[in-house]
């Protein structure tokens, strides 16, 4: 992939959006195993209902991992400096999540040029599920990954 550079991007530039498939139980079970988060509220409907939820729901860190894909799909992970999110709403079964991001500002820290990205995931109803920021280092000139 050809990487974004400090000279090639501007404030307000949008990252290519990442569209996820509808959340289903298989996705949640796989993520439970892979992430080590075995909290039954995400994989066991009986447990979720006893806890007062309508059904199982997505792990917050699954949604954060999707936002990670958004960012590392735009710049190589080695350039990622910070990744901060707030979980604003539960992602339920059937939610169709899309991740988006845009360049909020450009900065220079300890001689390194960086872009601060505003990142967000929303469901098909336009409700924000996760919002946050990522900071990525940007090379000065075009380079091939």
């Amino acid at each position: 992939m050809t990487t974004a550079t400090y000279d090639s991007i501007q404030i307000g530039d949008e990252l290519p959006a990442l569209q996820l498939p509808p959340v289903n139980r298989t996705t949640l079970a796989l993520f439970a195993g892979a992430s080590g988060d075995h909290n039954p509220i995400h994989i066991d409907t009986d447990f979720a209902r006893k806890a007062g939820m309508p059904d199982v729901f997505a792990q917050g860190m699954l949604g954060m991992a999707w936002l990670g894909r958004l960012v590392t799909g735009w710049v190589p992970q080695a350039q990622l400096r910070r990744f901060d999110v707030r979980f604003l709403g539960i992602t339920h079964l059937g939610h169709v999540v899309s991740c988006s991001g845009e360049v909020l500002r450009l900065q220079e820290v300890d001689g390194e040029r960086q872009a601060v990205l505003e990142i967000r995931s929303v469901n098909q109803f336009g409700e924000t599920r996760i919002a946050g920021e990522a900071v990525v280092a940007l090379p000065n000139t075009e380079s091939k990954r």
Binding site: L30, F31, N39, A51, P76, Q77, R86
Partner: protein, 146 residues
């Protein structure tokens, strides 16, 4: 109410070996298709010694070790009332297959909102590798809903 005596509590260290099949499973689970995360040759072409752990993967360390669940038990937060409020990572160097990462966490704050209807626990963590180099710093806010 969560006892504020836990502020300053240090969790036992959690050791997470970064393993190829686990990273490939994680990539599948999050729908990651970039070969850098699944194919060692592609990772080497991208400048890594082997597959890199994706940005959020190190959160697994304290889940695998049981340190996270032990903390919830200590604080008397049932899983049925647990929500994840915020999560931050700052990155210092990659963790790749073959590395062993150790995560050490401290409970840095406990507070409540809405007259105790929501309680918050802030955990700050440092992840180092087998050479004792800093890999990442993490900050987690967990929420107990009543």
């Amino acid at each position: 109410m969560i006892d504020k005596k836990w502020i300053g509590h240090e969790l036992p260290a959690s050791v997470l070996p970064i393993e190829r099949t686990r990273l490939q499973f994680f990539a599948k689970a999050i729908g990651e298709t970039d070969s850098v995360y699944t194919d060692a040759a592609a990772a080497r072409d991208a400048g890594y010694p082997d597959l890199p752990a994706p940005p959020t993967f190190l959160f697994a360390a304290e889940l695998d070790s049981g340190a996270s669940n032990q903390l919830l038990d200590d604080l008397q937060i049932p899983l049925s009332k647990l929500l994840h409020g915020e999560q931050s990572f700052s990155y210092h160097r990659p963790a790749c297959v073959g590395d062993t990462v150790t995560v050490r966490s401290t409970v840095s704050d406990i507070y409540d909102k809405k007259n105790g209807a929501l309680e918050f626990v802030v955990k700050t963590s440092r992840a180092t590798n087998q050479r004792d180099e800093l890999v990442a710093e993490m900050r987690t806010v967990i929420v107990c809903r009543h």
